[in-house]
Subunit: 225 residues, 2 copies
Amino acid sequence: MLATETVENYLKAIYLLQREAAADEAPMGKIAAALGVTAGTATSMVKKLVAAKLARHERFGGVRLTAKGTRAALDILRRHRLVETFLVDTLGLDWSVVHDEAERLEHAISPMVLDALDRHLGRPAFDPHGDPIPRADGALQESEAMPMSELGSGDAARLVRVLDQRGDSLRFLRASGLKVGATLRVVAIEPGAGVMRIRPDGGSIVSMSTTAAARVLVRPTRDRH
Amino acid sequence: MLATETVENYLKAIYLLQREAAADEAPMGKIAAALGVTAGTATSMVKKLVAAKLARHERFGGVRLTAKGTRAALDILRRHRLVETFLVDTLGLDWSVVHDEAERLEHAISPMVLDALDRHLGRPAFDPHGDPIPRADGALQESEAMPMSELGSGDAARLVRVLDQRGDSLRFLRASGLKVGATLRVVAIEPGAGVMRIRPDGGSIVSMSTTAAARVLVRPTRDRH
DNA sequence: ACCTAGAGTTTGAGTCGTCAAACTCATGCG
DNA sequence: CGCATGAGTTTGACGACTCAAACTCTAGGT
């Protein structure tokens, strides 16, 4: 716990924005939006992160974490994802609600409790959304996977990860039978409408926008159609 | 979560001090000490509690919670004690460390997680220290028990509750075989030295001060000596 | 090249919880 | 009975985090 709770939230947000941004830099505006804060607030907090050698930033440029900042962010991410896993696996909560709960709990977990939790869960490598759980030493192995939107018509695949954490997206996926580990097949693609039609194994066909499908990651399976 | 984390801590501290004080009032100085804060800070925070109708207080007098404040305190205590139970029963942590851990976690537990936790633990009535866990509706049944210091020489009893939360006290008790549920017998009392000698069932004789023994609660058992 | 729209920054102010230090009250010792 | 002592209160200040609003820079279109 090197930092205050607020600092932890900034580190985590910047880390995640850096991953998803092309330039490997987090834009100030997105940081502010991620934290539900005005741009001015974000600017001044980033200034503090820079002073603490957790981030680098130059006026009107993007923000990127230092090695120290990245390490801290991975630690927070580890707490977050282990807590999510606990809430789903041990307490039986629905994956559509655990993100927000973990958001609060992650700051209250000591290293000792974290390790006990990790042991209790069997040292899992992935959380319920398929996100990799950083290890205690900061190692993080991303699973290789492609966006579902890049599958072709008729392709079969296994769902390995859901990037969206919004509750309604997750409820939709669960209701459709599209959960992590499920296999599925692309029935049809309608580029004009920007929609693809998917059939999860043992479920009925669902339509989803290609933008939504882009945030679901899959690994193609050998097609024994 | 009607209140801020700090307010929750004040409510819990006042509640517990009120129980243990004869006058059913929490002295300002003890509130400050319990929270590790100066007296001035405690005074101004209590003023805020009064404004929120959570407590009553008149200048230079003691503090007591209103019905609303008591209800809130019981809710916090429920969270605290369920978390402690979880840390010991599910994660296997030692009871000498869980108090401080629970202190942090109790503020981050939502009603939903709390209920799932309660269900997972089998809706326990007591925490690992033998303290009663308030129910969701605020009901609290204290178990009847007497201080071990009031036992006579030769008396047998079952240990039902440990009031002290300090880590070293708990480690001493555990090391001596004096845990909640254990049966024991008073071997000798030396009033001059203020010491009593106890033999836990299946353990060897230990000495402890009567003041320490006063903070261990027991229920006498039929003596089939 | 300009100039404007949008992104980012600065400034001034406010809230929350805290402290130190000056002050006030209540009481029991002598 | 008075007054010193200790408990409690007030005051002024500060650090962390935030906002609104004024300001500044960058980049893209014409």
